[in-house]
């Protein structure tokens, strides 16, 4: 079992100032799967990962990482895990190859052992021939890919990635996704956190949505969407009448009868329904309003469960 978390609670501070950041999380990763943790900022994703790695003590609950109890044997367990942290932490004084060699040294891997694997690791990260390149000369995407290669020096059973594609351009994101799929195909288990629903939908075999330190739902992306949201969405925006009323006013008047559920966010109405035929026919007669009809996705579930207010 790559990772098993039972009843994890993490409090910061004590007494009246205590904040409970994680409030009873249960997770069980299956070997070879890709599992995504989704949640708004402050949901407890990173804290859960830090507890799992034994970098901070749990207030209560039990954690088993690669079959070893954490924090008691966290050091031994981490020898079998690779981590891509949220913030870049490559050594700016070293070249790409030196970064890999020095990091392998932290696992007790000798230079003579890691050096022959460097071309392969760099190629995996799409950094062929960059072994002598300085870190400052790399783009953000290249740095993240090198961090991924660095996380693989110990051939980990479990790879943990904290927001691996935040801040990357689409090309870099697609390359990382493709590499992560390759890793799971080769048997590596992956646990990742992300804000991007499309990322989770594409990569994850299973996922959990966290908010305020609790898991709200857990399952395969399809199961989660099917269980928690109507299959079709019609987004309505634009001008409703010449007096300047918009989609929100239209929704007040009509959405309740034409859709199962409607959420208004600013001047856009999100109408959720099992069958959009009547709704679309009605909207076709409202020339000022514009519509977008699409299948429901994970983001709709996420917003339904965690709300539309900003989290900072």
């Amino acid at each position: 079992m790559p990772l098993e978390i039972n009843g994890l609670v993490k409090r910061f501070g004590s007494g009246a100032d205590a904040r409970e950041v994680v409030r009873g999380i249960d997770l069980k990763l299956r070997p070879g799967e890709c599992f995504a943790l989704l949640g708004p900022n402050g949901a407890g994703k990173t804290t859960t990962l830090r507890c799992a790695l034994g970098l901070t003590g749990a207030s209560s609950g039990s954690i088993t990482l690669c079959g070893l109890p954490v924090p008691e044997q966290a050091r031994e367990a981490r020898a079998r895990v690779g981590v891509v942290p949220q913030l870049d932490s490559l050594d700016p004084d070293f070249t790409c190859a030196e970064n890999l060699i020095v990091f392998a040294g932290y696992f007790g891997i000798r230079e003579s052992e890691i050096r022959p694997r460097i071309p392969e690791l760099l190629a995996f990260a799409g950094l062929e021939g960059k072994d002598k390149a300085r870190i400052q000369s790399l783009s953000g995407g290249m740095k993240r890919r090198l961090t991924l290669a660095r996380a693989l020096v110990n051939k980990p059973e479990l790879l943990i990635l904290d927001e691996p594609t935040t801040g990357l351009d689409p090309q870099a994101r697609h390359l990382i996704w493709e590499r992560l799929r390759r890793l799971t195909a080769e048997g590596t288990t992956i646990l990742l956190t992300t804000h991007f629903m499309d990322e989770a939908e594409r990569l994850a075999n299973r996922l959990a949505i966290l908010d305020a330190g609790r898991i709200l739902v857990q399952g395969t992306p399809r199961e989660v969407i099917a269980a928690h949201i109507e299959p079709q969405v019609v987004e309505v925006f634009g001008e409703w009448d010449s007096a300047g009323a918009g989609a929100a006013a239209w929704a007040e008047a009509h959405a309740a009868t034409l859709s199962k559920r409607c959420e208004i966010s600013g001047e856009t109405a999100f109408c959720y329904t099992d069958d959009a035929t009547a709704l679309l026919a009605h909207l076709a007669r409202q020339p000022g309003l514009r519509t977008l009809h699409r299948p429901a996705n994970l983001e709709d579930v996420f917003l339904k469960l965690t709300g539309r207010e900003l989290r900072d």
């Binding site: 970098l55 003590g57 050091r75 031994e76 870049d88 932490s89 932290y106 996380a151």
Partner: protein, 261 residues
């Protein structure tokens, strides 16, 4: 289940991988580093030694510059160790997130802090040894006893690295270190007999001065350079070792509180 930050360190041999990382970075920048750690104290020693030496014919029975040599060796070792753990250590801990990256490997924070301690002492010992070589080349020491100063300056490096790590653990930014230099390092340098004998100090100040670790380092290193057996060497070494242990223990507890949350 609040973790006890004052628990004794749990160390593994992996700390040498962290030491080696710092050494490899240093090796890339070795020349400016050595010049910086060597040139500044040597210029001060020669400038003050010859300049003031004209006015001060003899101090404690030797030329002023020969008197100054032992003090210079100790205070530049202190400076090298202090700068390493304060500025470079803070960069690795806070700015570059190097420690965070290392903690994802099978290395604990205790190993990292211990590696920083030993690394800073190694670097300062190297700087001190280079200064000692210059002192010998200029003929300010001729005794083979001077070689015995090398392990003492390593211990001096450990002691000030441990003290500096307390500051690093507390620092919100680089600016914070100015307090440490202004309020601790500079007055200590002036009170520890680096530039003039401590018997010039008023009695009340002398009492404080006797407690300062730099005083104890100077009390061993200066006689060694002058070819004399230091008096109460055991006591001085014990003070340096004790300060090292206690300061490291406190620094480790503060660093754990800062990073393991």
């Amino acid at each position: 289940m609040t973790p006890n930050h004052f628990a004794p360190p749990r160390l593994s041999l992996r700390l040498f991988a962290v030491w080696r990382r710092n050494f490899l970075v240093w090796r890339k920048l070795a020349l400016p580093s050595i010049v910086g750690n060597l040139a500044d104290p040597v210029i001060y020693m020669l400038g003050l030694g010859y300049g003031l030496g004209m006015l001060v014919p003899e101090v404690e029975g030797v030329s002023y510059i020969a008197f100054l040599a032992g003090g210079t060796l100790c205070y530049s070792t202190m400076n090298a160790a202090t700068f390493e753990v304060l500025y470079s250590g803070f960069s690795r801990m806070h700015v570059q997130k190097t420690w965070e990256a290392i903690m994802n490997a099978p290395i604990a924070l205790d190993d990292i802090v211990a590696a920083e301690l030993v690394w800073a002492a190694s670097k300062s010992c190297l700087a001190g040894t280079a200064i000692l070589a210059v002192i010998a080349i200029f003929g300010f020491t001729a005794s083979p006893l001077a070689l015995a100063a090398i392990p003492v300056i390593f211990l001096t490096g450990l002691c000030f690295a441990a003290l500096g790590l307390i500051m690093t653990a507390l620092a919100p930014s680089y600016d914070f270190f100015m307090y440490y230099f202004t309020l601790f390092i500079t007055p200590m340098t002036l009170m520890s007999g680096v530039f003039f004998p401590q018997n010039q100090l008023p009695d009340s100040v002398r009492t404080i001065a006797d407690l300062l670790p730099l005083s104890h380092a100077v009390s061993i290193v200066r006689p060694l350079l002058l070819g004399q057996m230091p008096q109460q060497a055991g006591l001085h070494l014990a003070v340096l070792a004790m300060v090292t242990v206690l300061a490291f223990w406190l620094a480790l507890a503060l660093t754990r509180r800062r990073l393991l949350k």
